[in-house]
């Protein structure tokens, strides 16, 4: 490819930083929607790592893994947002602390 001068290390480092950022966001935020977005951030960090190693090891299987991660992420978001809507319908302005008991 035309641009093959940078090794895998910068990409992997960026993936590590993005993953840690998503984890910190998941820990400090209390809005369930924002927590979901932080999960997406972590998934993207892993996707970036997959693609980097797919290039490094010359293996398209890594890209297929990213494809499946995308599908699972889409399904997860649909179900998760459905749960959040169902919770918010019953109590307004819920945060993750209010719904810690898994019961009404």
């Amino acid at each position: 490819m035309i641009l093959a001068e940078l090794g895998p290390t910068p990409y992997l480092a960026l993936g590590a930083i993005l993953f840690a950022a998503g984890a910190v966001g998941l820990l400090i935020r209390r809005n369930p929607l924002v927590m979901f977005m932080c999960v997406e951030l972590m998934l993207n960090a892993v996707n970036l790592t997959f693609v980097t190693l797919a290039r490094e090891l010359d293996d398209v299987g890594g890209q297929v893994a990213v494809f499946f991660v995308l599908v699972v992420a889409a399904a997860e978001v649909v179900v998760g947002l459905g749960i959040i809507v169902a919770i918010f319908r019953r109590r307004q302005g819920a945060t993750a602390d209010d719904i810690s008991l898994l019961k009404g």
């Binding site: 480092a13 960026l14 993005l18 840690a20 950022a21 820990l27 400090i28 951030l41 693609v51 299987g61």
Partner: protein, 195 residues
């Protein structure tokens, strides 16, 4: 050349990630998330994964973020977190420490100590000259066919789950421990003598 692309993409990604974590309003978080997703798509293109870059923009930035925004609008945009108060004492410090630990360990592994080990591919080699979409499609429908079919089952389960969650039941339970004027309108309308 690749370095320029990488640094631009990396800066977009990191700014977007910071925006997701630090914005008070969920709408701003969702818009920052679009930035990160675009940055990752740029890095996909820089690494010969053109199909995944397109899917990233279409599915993630197009569908998932729109779904997020839709739910935020449905639930009311004014539900901002007050991120200046800390609900659990000391939790942010611990979160920062553990986040830095995770980042430190991962960076140590990949950047300082690391070299990529592992066998190079034999079956799924990236043949030069063949388009990325063709390679991916060939693998998806031969080697990973079983996983692909299972994916359709997963999607059907997700659709059924989402529909049954979103269905508005007439006999929906309401929270009796809440004072009545705190109840959302829908729940008040549905409040029948729940056995």
């Amino acid at each position: 050349m690749e370095a320029v692309v990488f640094y631009v993409g990396a800066v977009i990604c990191l700014l977007g990630a910071a925006g997701v974590i630090l914005s008070e309003s969920p709408v701003h978080s969702a818009l920052s998330l679009v930035g990160t997703l675009f940055g990752v798509a740029v890095l996909f293109v820089a690494q010969d994964a053109e199909f995944l870059a397109a899917v990233q923009v279409i599915v993630y930035a197009g569908a998932i973020v729109v779904l997020f925004l839709f739910v935020i609008m449905l639930l009311g945009v004014d539900s901002t977190d007050d991120i200046t108060v800390e609900p659990l004492k000391g939790q942010r410090v611990l979160a920062a420490i553990s986040g830095l630990t995770v980042a430190g360990v991962l960076l140590f592994v990949v950047a300082i100590k690391g070299k990529v080990t592992g066998q190079h591919a034999t079956a799924a080699r990236d043949t030069p000259g063949v388009p990325n979409v063709e390679e991916l499609g060939r693998l998806l429908f031969t080697r990973y066919l079983w996983a692909f079919e299972i994916t359709s089952v997963l999607l059907i389960i997700a659709v059924v789950g989402a529909v049954s969650l979103a269905r508005h039941r007439k006999d929906a339970l309401v929270d009796h421990d809440l004072p009545h004027d705190d109840l959302p309108d829908l729940a008040v309308a549905a409040e029948e003598p729940a056995s």
